[in-house]
């Protein structure tokens, strides 16, 4: 029997999807973006980065674009998010939102003011 399809993406997959959600980036660009967004907490090393990129390409969550030059005139392989990738990211974000709401209702987190 095959397992049900929706799987929780790994943190690396989710962070790469977030990086590509608003713009196309090359590998190093993704790594820098994740570092900045997480206050230097999440370092995607070259192996994890390209290993994850490879699997995400296979799963159709991202797409490779024609090679082009970056801002420093270096030739780079760029990636962009696909609709399937957006869907994975959205489903995961909703799952996390649900968990946060749950934590809030258990008073582990302060109640939001101004929210009905």
């Amino acid at each position: 029997m095959e397992a049900a399809m929706p799987e929780t993406p790994t943190p690396a997959v989710f962070h790469i999807l977030l990086s590509l959600a608003d713009q196309e980036r090359h590998g190093y660009g993704i790594m820098q973006d994740v570092l900045e967004r997480t206050n230097n907490q999440i370092h995607l090393g070259p192996g994890t980065l390209y290993g994850t990129i490879k699997r995400m390409l296979e799963a159709g969550q991202i797409e490779e674009l024609p090679e082009r030059e970056d801002e420093n005139n270096q030739r780079r392989r760029y990636y962009k998010i696909t609709n399937a990738g957006k869907k994975t990211a959205r489903t995961e974000a909703e799952r996390l939102e649900h968990l946060v709401n749950l934590a809030r209702s258990k008073r582990l987190l302060p109640q939001l003011r101004g929210v009905r």
Partner: protein, 209 residues
């Protein structure tokens, strides 16, 4: 070449050849850029070693999307597939390139195909002749995997699973290409060996091993 780079190049050898050929250049560049922005500290090296060891282990596992694994020749096929698309200057990697990728190595799939008496050159010639010369790659492009090729790869994993093999090997890829409907390349394979016969043979092999 500096010492840091030499160490990283040595670490890259831990990855399977196909993965290294595909991403080695990019990984080295990302490594060099991280090195110049973070400096060669103990923490930097600890992170780098951990990254390489954990991810190389995962790549060596070579798991398919269904969780079964590819043999080394199957993984090498994917590398050659891309090389073939490059060589022919084609934008989309399709079933033809997968078959050409299989034909680039001495593997079981090739043994099965040439048993019919056809030579490698003849088979290759037939496939290349059938390739549409449609959109060609520009100098700045890389071939991308067409959905048809992706579904063949998934089909190969499923066939291997159904045939009771825990590894996806080159004959499973061959079978998956042959089973595709309305495909010229599938017809070419079926003329050399009918897909039913191919499946039966793989089934027997699975039982005997």
């Amino acid at each position: 070449m500096n010492l840091e780079l030499q160490i990283f190049q040595a670490l890259l050898k831990l990855y399977p050849q196909a993965f290294r050929q595909e991403y080695g250049k990019e990984m080295t560049r990302v490594f060099q850029e991280s090195l110049s922005s973070q400096g060669s500290s103990f923490r930097f090296w600890a992170r780098t070693f951990w990254d390489v060891i954990s991810s190389a282990g995962r790549e060596r596992g070579g798991k398919t999307m269904l969780g079964n694994r590819y043999t080394d020749s199957a993984m090498l096929t994917f590398h050659f597939t891309r090389t073939e698309a490059f060589r022919l200057g084609q934008v989309e990697i399709g079933p033809e390139h997968l078959l050409l990728g299989l034909l680039r190595q001495e593997c079981q799939a090739v043994n099965i195909l040439t048993r019919s008496g056809a030579t490698l050159e003849e088979i290759r010639g037939r496939i290349e002749a059938g390739l549409k010369t449609g959109t060609l790659l520009s100098a700045k492009q890389v071939p991308r995997i067409a959905p048809r090729a992706l579904s063949i790869m998934n089909r190969a994993a499923k066939e291997a699973q159904m045939l009771g093999s825990n590894r996806v090997d080159t004959p499973h890829i061959l079978l998956a290409i042959a089973l595709e409907e309305n495909s010229a390349v599938a017809r070419t394979i079926n003329e050399l060996i009918p897909s039913d016969q191919l499946r039966t043979e793989l089934n027997q092999r699975g039982e005997s091993s």
